[in-house]
């Protein structure tokens, strides 16, 4: 088995009496989509934040590309190749679509302290930016103000900005949220191919997408991973059905 790109080891995190993460160990392997599902309040966001570096675990470790990054901040982890999309779009709203993509390319390049060059005329930044917009289907909207985009287009732009970083892995927090069925289907197809480029840890509520895409699924309930396995394993798992999928068959 190839080495995991991302690995968490027995992460624990409590907020007062609430234990949001309980011995969470999971890994993300090259070429796979690993979906993380769980009911609201299961601790998915807390886990994502520990992986991205926004909050520190009480105990346990996060390893990126075989290196212990538990003590590193979000910026350092992004530089190591963690490409993140947010649950609520985090974009520079006054900027054009292209400027947001160029910002990503600038971050990927890692040399922002140039005070004189015209950033929007720098081919080394524009090419990856345009390329990423093209791939998510936003080329025609490159000149529009980000604040004027539809909700779905903002989600696409989030993915495009992550692409400009040429990351080693993607951490996607509900990329399908609010997309509608057509948009969600298009993004599903896109992510399906993307896993060849870099593996994806996908937090998602859209069960159709999860079962269509995921090589492996982990189910988080009350801060604890109660099952990890293929889509078939998870569907068949009695505990998962009881805790999360409820009475109805979600597939």
């Amino acid at each position: 088995m190839a080495d995991a790109v991302l690995r968490t080891k027995k992460l624990n995190k409590s907020f007062g009496a609430l234990q949001a993460s309980r011995d969470v160990s999971l890994d993300l392997r090259p070429g796979e989509i690993h979906a993380l599902i769980g009911p609201n309040g299961a601790g998915k966001s807390t886990l994502i934040k520990q992986i991205a570096g926004n909050i520190a675990p009480d105990s346990g470790k996060v390893e990126l590309l075989g290196r212990d990054v538990t003590a590193l901040d979000t910026v350092a982890r992004a530089r190591m190749g963690l490409g993140r999309t947010f649950q609520i779009s985090a974009l520079a709203m006054e900027y054009t679509v292209l400027q947001n993509a160029v910002l990503g390319a600038l971050g990927g390049q890692g040399r922002p302290y140039r005070l004189f060059r015209n950033v929007m005329k720098d081919p080394a930044l524009l090419e990856p930016a345009r390329d990423a917009l093209e791939r998510v289907g936003l080329s025609d909207d490159a000149g529009r103000r980000t604040a004027d985009l539809s909700h779905g287009q903002r989600r696409q732009l989030e993915v495009a900005v992550a692409l400009t970083l040429q990351p080693k892995l993607f951490l996607m927090d509900e990329p399908m949220a609010g997309l509608g069925s057509a948009g969600s289907k298009a993004l599903t197809g896109f992510l399906d191919d993307l896993r060849q480029e870099a593996p994806i840890l996908l937090v998602e509520h859209d069960m159709d997408a999860v079962f269509a895409l995921a090589d492996r699924i982990s189910v988080l309930v009350y801060g604890q991973i109660i099952a990890t396995g293929t889509a078939a394993d998870i569907r068949a798992n009695a505990e998962v059905r009881r805790a999360y999928l409820g009475e109805e068959d979600a597939a």
């Binding site: 992004a78 530089r79 900027y95 971050g107 922002p112 015209n118 950033v119």
Partner: protein, 328 residues
């Protein structure tokens, strides 16, 4: 593309040149001095606008940099005119009355102060940032008051304006030319900065910090860099302002001064490149016109500020040139 804002900017910078030129031919030195004051105060605003407009850093302590620039001029020139060495080691230095050297010292001193103040203040944000920058400014203000070696509360006077190679700085129009050229250079620099990779990242950090971190850039160092550049430009303005008046006093460091510099920026339009030029020119104009009617002319200024904040958030430039477009 020739936008309205672009043409308005050129009209303003041209007017700032032609008014004193006309005054010069008509032999009205007072008007030239007013225009010089407007250019220098605009320069201070251009400095603040890099932190405030581009970086979103609401600094109420920029008087610190303005005053440090002023005292850099005052101290160097006072030693030079009194032939008292400023220090004897590692080499004998008797101060200086040469503007280029004074500017260099003013920029270095205010940039260093901005580095220290920024490094401490930028750990906070929002209202705490405003309060900490205000506190640093007031600390320096009271320090200057208690510093009797350099005039304390009374300030420090210079008998003759400092020198610039090849120019007669006592001639109002020549001193204006110096201030005007420096203002134009600063505007050019600020425009390049706004369009640079650094400017893109800085303004993005103002709009969405999470996004900037997620692409692997550090908002803190971006902001600190902007704060240092901002403080340095305002410090240079302080040195020129002190030279204009041939006088520097703790007033330059007081929080009123910070407020005034901020008013130039807000009057003209926050984040508008030429906003401080419009704001400072309007301020000087009002001070001159209304000041003749009443000592309490700032009542009208307050009213105007109120109207602008309520109805024209883009300031004077926003009202005349319309909403800012996203730069493509």
């Amino acid at each position: 593309m020739l936008t309205r804002e672009y043409m308005l900017n050129w009209a303003m910078i041209a007017a700032l040149l032609f008014v004193p030129l006309a005054a010069w031919t008509l032999d009205e030195p007072f008007i030239i001095t007013l225009a010089t004051k407007a250019a220098i105060l605009a320069l201070a605003g251009v400095g603040l606008n890099i932190a405030l407009g581009q970086g979103g850093l609401i600094s109420l302590g920029h008087a610190a940099f303005f005053g440090i620039g002023g005292y850099a001029m005052g101290i160097l020139a006072a030693h030079a005119q009194n032939y008292e060495p400023l220090f004897g080691w590692p080499f004998l230095f008797e101060g200086s009355n040469q503007m280029p050297l004074i500017w260099l010292v003013a920029v270095a001193a205010s940039a260093s102060a901005a580095l220290v103040i920024g490094a401490l203040s930028l750990r906070t944000s929002g209202v705490y940032f405003i309060m900490i920058t205000l506190a640093f400014g007031q600390m320096l203000y009271y320090f200057a008051i208690s510093w009797s070696a350099y005039g304390g509360e009374d300030g420090l006077s210079i008998w003759v304006r400092n020198e610039f190679p090849g120019l007669n700085t006592l001639d109002p129009i020549q001193f204006f030319a110096i201030a005007y050229v420096i203002l134009c250079l600063a505007l050019f620099f600020a425009a390049r900065l706004a369009r640079s990779p650094f400017g893109l990242a800085l303004a993005a950090a103002r709009q969405n910090e999470d996004r900037v971190e997620a692409v692997g850039l550090t908002p803190f160092t971006l902001r600190l860099t902007a704060f240092v550049i901002s403080g340095a430009i305002t410090g240079l303005a302080g040195a020129l302002f002190a030279d204009l008046n041939r006088f520097v006093s703790p007033t330059m460091l007081s929080w009123h001064t910070s407020g005034e510099i901020m008013i130039f920026v807000i009057l003209g339009g926050v984040g508008r490149l030429y906003g401080p030029v419009a704001g400072a020119a309007l301020y000087i104009l009002l001070e001159h016109l209304l000041g003749g009617i009443s000592d309490y002319w700032q009542i009208f200024l307050g009213l105007l500020l109120l109207l602008i904040v309520l109805f024209a958030r883009g300031g004077l430039i926003g009202a005349l040139a319309g909403r800012e477009k996203a730069h493509g």
